[in-house]
């Protein structure tokens, strides 16, 4: 009998939690407050220029096709002039290596310092890369003129003989973006899409009117080219950023966004560039809080970090790809006890997990937030992780009916 009792105890507590949930207005009061703070603070949003730092940094901006055409033509005009002067031609390529990267705590993201390297045609060492750079410039010009988008793989295949390996065209494409001072997606080279979105959100995509409240349970695929998106409108009070497909499906099927007006999106694991650009755009236009629902493990946090501060090899583009101010709603290590997650749903962390967890604690963006550090300390001390789905042990709809409402009601994000 005692074993039976032990087994039911968490279930009873789960039931008690359900009773604490108030009306949806009351549930949303805390989010409302957070939204008000965010809307007030955006007036003083920090930019790299605004910081007046002594060094020079390099950041790229989103440019439209005509602006990119101007940049490409400018670069080629310079090269032609130089050739006519009998000097051959040279591109000045910003260095994108680790040594040229720097974390700016005020912006909470990595940016590029301003070191450059000449790429000269008349040099054995850089001749080949100068030729590839020219070819890429030409291809970009064609894409922008035709207003079409391709993948990096397509780009590679247009001249396999020259590029030889996709690595070469990929790398020099990033160089060209840096050189022209614009994002890679401005060059009309896009990543393949992975993400989906549902909820209180309408926008125009390539002229089509999209209403994410009427996208069934499958949702709308996040477009690969965010520059074809405009007219973003929403009455949502927050964006719920979900790590996993299964949790997204649960919330979409339960039409969670009808009770609690929000936008629900997921990139199904490690976020792709398209999803990161899309989130950034939503946040910029709507100025509403972003709350994250990820697994309680180092990998969940790593995903958050990619959304928030970008990945190392795209750091020149960090200002366009990142959404700094994301709140960690759950599942947090401290939730496991608070919500009485049964022992059998808690998984032991592997040595690799623990190593990653400890490494995360040393990262600037974590250290900047003492409450995140505290959660990571719990994780690495208890050596226990848990998936979002662990909440299913209290019933399939516990996530949408109890856990999330309670979290929102209590303003329990950090």
């Amino acid at each position: 009998m005692s074993s039976k009792k032990r087994r039911d105890a968490p279930a009873e507590k789960a039931l008690a939690a359900r009773k604490r949930i108030k009306s949806s207005t009351e549930v949303l009061a805390q989010v409302n407050k957070l939204a008000a703070i965010l809307k007030g603070s955006t007036a003083v949003a920090r930019t790299l220029d605004g910081l007046h730092l002594p060094q020079t940094f390099r950041e790229v901006v989103e440019k439209d096709a005509d602006a990119v055409l101007d940049e490409v033509e400018g670069a080629i005009y310079q090269a032609a002039l130089s050739i006519l002067n009998g000097e051959g031609f040279t591109y000045d390529i910003p260095s994108r290596g680790r040594a040229n990267q720097q974390y700016i705590p005020e912006l909470d993201r990595i940016v590029l310092k301003d070191s450059k390297a000449p790429r000269t045609f008349a040099s054995v060492k850089t001749c080949r890369s100068a030729v590839i750079t020219t070819r890429i410039l030409q291809l970009i010009h064609e894409l922008c003129q035709k207003r079409i988008h391709v993948t990096k793989r397509d780009l590679f295949y247009t001249d396999v003989k020259l590029f030889e390996e996709q690595n070469n065209s990929d790398n020099i494409l990033d160089d060209v973006a840096c050189m022209l001072g614009c994002t890679r997606s401005s060059l009309h080279v896009v990543a393949s899409e992975k993400g989906v979105v549902v909820g209180d959100l309408r926008f125009r995509e390539d002229g089509d009117e999209i209403d994410c409240q009427r996208m069934g349970v499958g949702g709308k695929a996040i477009p690969p080219n965010v520059d074809k998106v405009d007219g973003i409108r929403s009455n949502a009070m927050f964006i719920l950023l979900v790590e996993k497909d299964a949790a997204f499906m649960r919330l979409a099927e339960d039409r969670f966004y009808r009770t609690y007006p929000c936008i629900i999106m997921t990139a199904k694991g490690q976020p792709d560039v398209a999803s990161r650009l899309f989130l950034r755009r939503l946040k910029e236009v709507l100025k509403i809080p972003v709350l994250a629902l990820v697994d309680s493990d180092p990998y969940g946090l790593r995903i958050l970090s990619v959304y928030m501060k970008g990945s190392m090899n795209m750091s020149y583009d960090s200002s366009n790809l990142t959404t700094p101010d994301i709140k960690w709603l759950g599942v947090r290590p401290s939730d496991l006890d608070r919500f009485n997650i049964p022992e059998q749903c808690r998984l032991p962390m592997t040595d690799e997990d623990i190593k990653t967890g400890k490494k995360l604690m040393e990262e600037d963006f974590i250290m900047a937030n003492p409450e995140w550090v505290k959660e990571l300390e719990i994780m690495t001390k208890t050596k226990v992780k848990a998936e979002i789905q662990a909440l299913s042990s209290f019933g399939f709809q516990y996530l949408s009916e109890v856990y999330l409402p309670l979290k929102l009601q209590e303003g329990d994000w950090i």
Copy 2:
């Protein structure tokens, strides 16, 4: 000069090909003929029952929630009766192993033979699995009553203590589907979605009206639960099944379906259950040809085989998951020479590739089609493969503007 000439030769031929494309009506004439043949032949579509085979086979059908509830209650009622009779309880579980599978050439798919194994509670060997089976039946009952869908992972987490490993709950879930004679998706346990669709297609999803012509370039995410889809309407003349995301993006951005009314879908590589169910449903309702655009390599064919004849471990469900009559449009090994794909875009096959290719040639569904065998012979003889993107070497839009229209115009599918 001669090197320059050699380099441009394929490009000139590519240009010549473009000139051969006629008006869209003429391009579509061949597809029209194929569609007419298909519509005529569906009247005599073969079913397992219709074959009057001497052996008994086991196939499952799509059932609605109420029918599944009836089945579950029936099974539990039998168990209760048996217990009251003092005989404990036993489930009769259809065996899903390789020995119980058979390829039916007339249907062109794998089905289960009718061998069963008793799963008795009062037996040391099967006690545990009998308990898990009962628990799964109970959970399925809850899902069907609440009319909600969950993933296999969610199901596992509802009772980790009992299931111990997800493998256990997954396996017994398939057993239960077999036992109740219905598909796994009828049990309201669904796979996560991966596919996207655009084009001349409208349907209702969970009550929402979806128009895939107005889904921008990103497309509509294929719903994880096809039973929430109804009201499928379309004026499309064919379904274009695309292996890869990049090709899908190209066709979506070029609004290929406006010139050539079609439905374009991709599962982004290896097809998931949701995409296979969706394709099957489209084909059933619309009765239009399915043309496949895959890489010219064994992996591309393997993907086609999963759509057409199913995977081994879901063979009990092959009639609901498979779409037998798919035409291989391209990229076919013989296309490489026909379309003058430049040497540098052809990739050498690895030993593993060649082995897979040779193995494919021995499979029933390939041998049933001599033209497929011929293509595979070219592939394994030349030891060369190519991706869809190799067509980009003639220009980014060669796929949508030249290759596909020409293929359609010439009725060049097998």
